[in-house]
């Protein structure tokens, strides 16, 4: 085999490896966002945060007497993917399209095929509680998913 042909095959092999790595990096957070909608019975794929679990933990909102004070909200972050990643989440209370309270962000480093809990402390001050009286309160937030040092995707919700 001549030199040019050998070099051609080496470059082709390197190119394939880099292509596969790009696909794996890009697919992780995308699958993490999409798969919880479809794989409701099985474990979701990719790197993501299970936002569906937040609503069930907000029962203290139904009663103004339980609203004040610290509340711990645990949200599952999963990394069912072969690359290490990290997830972070903060929650917001929104009244009339304005954010009136925002939690500190909770972050978690996740090894490949590891899941964990993001613990968000929601300590609503009494001044904010008084603003919430009789208002329709929306929950929003910002979620960041990072696939190693390759890319970070940050999504604000609701859109």
């Amino acid at each position: 085999m001549n030199g040019i042909r050998a070099a051609k095959y080496v470059v082709r092999a390197a190119s394939l490896v880099v292509s596969i790595l790009i696909m794996v990096v890009v697919a992780g957070p995308i699958l993490g966002a999409v798969s919880p909608q479809f794989l409701t019975q099985q474990q979701p794929l990719g790197l993501g945060i299970d936002l569906n679990s937040i609503n069930s933990q907000l029962s203290f909102f139904h009663n103004s007497s339980t609203l004040a004070g610290p509340h711990d909200i645990a949200v599952t972050a999963f990394n069912n993917w072969p690359l290490p990643g990290s997830a972070s989440l903060l929650l917001k209370l929104i009244v009339n399209n304005q954010t009136i309270y925002q939690t500190q962000p909770a972050s978690l480093q996740l090894d490949p095929f590891q899941s964990g809990q993001l613990h968000i402390s929601m300590d609503v001050p009494s001044s904010v509680v008084s603003q919430l009286q009789g208002q329709r309160v929306g929950i929003g937030g910002t979620m960041s998913l990072a696939e190693g040092q390759y890319w970070t995707i940050t999504v604000s919700f609701p859109q």
Partner: protein
């Protein structure tokens, strides 16, 4: 004749997929997509995809109607790379609106993509010269029997 037919069928396939099927699917799913991505008006989307479909068709024709080692084949390959860069730039321009104010940070990923593009072009050039050498082998030196 076979090469010409292959070139025409490849061009037609690329035009149908990129220039017709893609914008049709975008329009079909636009009610769902519009909650995540702010799409341009439908006629602008059709114009852009028909243009990309035509460019992909031309480059596909050059790659398939000519043999590896011919210069039109090389122009087809190089042109296809340039069209792909323009196409994905157009697609990615839609993305930041879909992920709120903070968006996407992709420095490391971009370096990987640049490396991949560089490797693909190095491969292309090596493949081209390998094919030219195979098409025009060096004449063997006459062997003189003593």
């Amino acid at each position: 004749m076979v090469k010409l037919a292959k070139g025409i069928s490849s061009a037609a396939l690329r035009f149908v997929v990129i220039g017709i099927a893609f914008p049709y699917l975008l329009e079909y799913f636009s009610p769902t997509l519009s909650s995540y991505v702010q799409l341009p008006p439908a006629d602008q989307v059709w114009e852009a995809f028909i243009l990309f479909g035509a460019l992909y068709a031309v480059t596909g024709f050059l790659q398939n109607a000519y043999s590896k080692g011919d210069y039109p084949w090389l122009f087809g390959k190089l042109g296809s790379g340039v069209v792909s860069i323009a196409f994905f730039t157009y697609i990615f321009l839609l993305l930041p609106k879909s992920v709120g104010s903070a968006g996407v940070q992709s420095t490391g990923l971009l370096y990987l993509i640049y490396l991949e593009v560089a490797l693909a072009y190095v491969y292309l050039v090596l493949d081209f010269y390998d094919a030219r050498r195979s098409k025009n082998p060096k004449p063997k030196e006459p062997v003189v029997a003593v």
